[in-house]
């Protein structure tokens, strides 16, 4: 199996990455009140270990993981727990959250700046434990708990570890700026994970539009002493280049089987941000309570990349960056292709927040929905080789089983079909509806 030039399909939406200007990371001041939703990862929500009135410091564990797929949650400010109540959640609409009022002292639980010398001699189990304690989840957006993913079953060894620095979503530059700023640390984290997994290769995949990052990583790897198997892999600029299955196909030529996981083809993919968080957790013993967030979009006056505490509300970030004097239409968490539109700016930054976009009405134009003219563009752009128009038509007519038989459940919801459709058909919405109905009918049958 060999690496490919690229995968089949995909689209080229306008990048708009230049909006952010220079790619330095600025520190965003800790919020007055931090809203920390208990549900930060896939799986079950974590269980609070603090109660109203408790004093916490920056990095104090405030909620423990509950169940196998779940993650820890730490306070992002020092102060007092004032409530645990339902509040807006960027993914779920509304969910329980721990509200912490800052005492403005920003006192850390321990010193997070010095590197632990002993990190190199830790065993795999110890590293995993550190990662689990730090509450690390996949920071690309899927928010799958990292310790679960990094601990594959014994019969599925990982040969290739891929670091996903594609950042194919338009507008977003948070990973890019992180790569430029923290290349050394990322490489350290990468080496650590590679060693832990006993992987043969570690590929750092970066889209070609980030030439400076590619050059930087290449240079750093040459300087590194034990850079065996470490390699930078430039990717063609295309959406969804960063999608796990497509990335694996491009880099290794292997296709993850339908319904399978990357470990079925001996590959593990982690986002660049996650690798950095692992570095921090293991070398600095720092839990995940802040992350890089791109605040951008044509509705924002001064777009930038911020290092933001989890729990900061979108409102603070948006107000701080300033609203442009344009007709504003949407507030989105994440990229414009897969991000989630928000109904209120009261939602807090969570671990999954890679960007906050304020789109004007000319960027996020809906156009009149016309009848499908069967142009086949959705078929040719679908990276999963599906026929989105057919699937959505069948879902619309209630033929969920037929839709399933032509690949309904293989869709990864990248939205390429929806982007390209000249008729303005909301293909992805129908596909999502179909998935929902299918799962529901399966539950009913049981």
């Amino acid at each position: 199996m060999k690496a490919r030039v690229t995968f089949k399909g995909g689209i080229h939406p306008p990048e708009n990455k230049g909006l952010c200007g220079e790619l330095s990371i600025k520190d965003f001041p800790p919020p007055e009140t931090a809203v920390l939703p208990l549900q930060q990862s896939l799986g079950s929500a974590s269980e609070p270990v603090v109660k109203k009135g408790d004093k916490v410091k920056k990095g104090t564990l405030i909620a423990r993981s509950k169940g196998y797929i779940s993650s820890n949650l730490h306070s992002s400010v020092s102060g007092e727990v004032i409530d645990i109540r339902k509040s807006p959640h960027p993914l779920l609409g509304e969910a329980n959250a721990i509200i912490i009022k800052s005492d403005n002292r920003d006192e850390p639980e321990r010193d997070y700046s010095a590197e632990e010398a002993s990190a190199d001699s830790l065993s795999s189990g110890e590293i995993l434990e550190l990662i689990q304690n730090a509450g690390i989840v996949g920071l690309g957006g899927a928010t799958f708990p990292a310790h679960v993913k990094l601990n594959p079953p014994a019969d599925k060894p990982i040969k290739t570890f891929i670091i996903n620095g594609a950042e194919c979503e338009p507008y977003l530059t948070s990973d890019h700026s992180l790569m430029l700023e923290c290349a050394d640390r990322i490489l350290k984290g990468a080496a650590l994970i590679k060693k832990m997994l006993k992987a043969e290769k570690c590929l750092i995949a970066i889209e070609e539009n980030k030439k400076d990052a590619i050059a930087l990583f290449r240079q750093k790897i040459i300087q590194l002493k034990n850079a065996e198997g470490l390699q930078v892999f430039p990717l063609k600029v295309k959406y969804p280049q960063g999608a796990e299955k497509q990335l694996i196909y491009t880099l290794t030529g292997k296709e993850v089987p339908s319904g399978g996981l990357p470990m079925d083809v001996s590959v593990l993919v982690h986002n660049i941000g996650t690798v950095f968080a692992v570095y921090e957790a293991v070398f600095l013993r720092k839990p995940l309570f802040e992350r890089i967030v791109t605040v951008s979009g044509k509705g924002i006056k001064n777009p930038a990349n911020w290092r933001v505490r989890i729990g900061t509300t979108f409102k603070m970030l948006v107000n701080h960056s300033g609203l442009a004097d344009k007709k504003i239409k949407k507030l989105i968490m994440g990229g414009p292709m897969m991000g989630l539109a928000q109904y209120t700016d009261e939602v807090p930054v969570v671990k999954a927040t890679s960007g906050i976009l304020v789109l004007t009405s000319d960027e996020a134009a809906d156009f009149e929905h016309l009848a499908c003219i069967r142009c086949g563009k959705c078929v040719s752009v679908c990276p999963m080789g599906l026929m989105p128009a057919e699937i959505s038509k069948m879902v619309e007519k209630g033929r969920i089983d037929t839709a399933k038989s032509i690949g309904l459940m293989d869709c990864m919801e990248c939205g390429s079909c929806n982007y390209i459709c000249p008729s303005g058909t909301n293909l992805l919405q129908y596909i999502k509806l179909g998935k929902y109905e299918y799962l529901r009918s399966k539950n009913v049958k049981r």
Binding site: G93, E94, Q342, Y343, D366, Q429, K432, L433, Y436
Partner: protein
């Protein structure tokens, strides 16, 4: 034409007929397949709208199940008692009685409740429910995406003037498709005879309900006191009627301060009708 023509033709036809008759008779011996004629008869009796309420793939497979697996004969909701009696007569067994059930939407405020945000996209409540937890402030309110309306095989659900879906009780066949379709589980099958219902599903506390909806149950308990048969209880901030005790007296209807209890005998064919909402706010 002489006599010989007639003899010839009769002869030829006789020979032909006899030949094929024998061939057919022989082959039918070898190729015969046993099939119960009752299956076809039963599927003729069934309404053939293939709604699936019986739990089978369609009317014909239900018919097959009745004959081959001795399935119960009263599973067909659309056909009702008449059908089950007919089938029972055919099968030679006593029919089980079935109560006619109709769908009931436990919300009357969607059109009047407050909007959380402007939604654009596919107008289907199942989709809307996926976006930031639904587009109306009330977490238990109808989203007015009309998935139930479209799922109804007999077109028994329509929109009223507040654009809320409502069930035309006499058209409804009780197949239960809308029940499984509703993303917020607002619809249930209720007995046709019990004509007083509480049309709200909100488990929020009273104060929160008032904030978001004019016609939401606030759990005040007045109906509980008014009921002479102890048929109403407050369950998790929501009044619930126990239909086994309810005698349809209608006393609870008048005491309800937010008017979420409806009596269908009083011509409330359209829930929410008496609420004069100024503007029509469709999604």
């Amino acid at each position: 034409m002489g006599i010989e023509v007639i003899i010839y033709s009769t002869g030829v036809l006789l020979v032909l007929g006899a030949g094929f008759g024998i061939a057919l008779a022989v082959s039918s011996k070898f190729l015969s397949v046993e099939e119960d004629p009752r299956i076809k008869k039963i599927s003729d009796i069934l309404p053939n709208i293939n709604c699936g309420a019986c739990g089978f793939a369609g009317c014909s497979s239900y018919a097959e199940a009745i004959v081959t697996k001795k399935e119960k004969v009263n599973l067909c909701m659309p056909g009702g008692e008449k059908t089950s009696k007919k089938i029972a007569g055919l099968m030679g067994i006593a029919p089980d009685s079935i109560e006619k059930k109709v769908a009931l939407i436990h919300c009357c405020g969607g059109g009047i409740g407050k909007k959380k945000y402007d939604y654009s996209g596919v107008k289907d409540c199942r989709v809307i429910n996926m976006v930031a937890g639904g587009s109306v402030e009330c977490d238990y309110g109808c989203l007015m995406g009309y998935a139930c309306l479209r799922s109804c095989p007999v077109h028994a659900i329509e929109k009223n003037e507040n654009l809320m879906p409502y069930v035309i009780r006499d058209k409804c066949v009780g197949c239960g498709r809308c029940v499984t379709t509703c993303p917020r589980n607002l619809i249930e099958l209720a007995e046709y005879g019990k004509k007083v219902h509480i049309l709200c599903s909100s488990h929020d506390r009273g104060a929160e309900v008032i904030k978001v909806c004019k016609v939401g149950c606030i759990g005040c308990g007045k109906c509980v006191q008014a009921c002479p048969f102890n048929a109403i209880r407050i369950e998790n901030n929501l009044a619930v009627i126990d239909y086994s005790k309810c005698r349809v007296c209608g006393k609870c209807v008048d005491v309800c301060p937010v008017k979420v209890i409806y009596d269908w005998r009083k011509d409330f064919t359209v829930p929410g009708k008496q609420q004069k909402s100024g503007k029509k706010n469709e999604l």
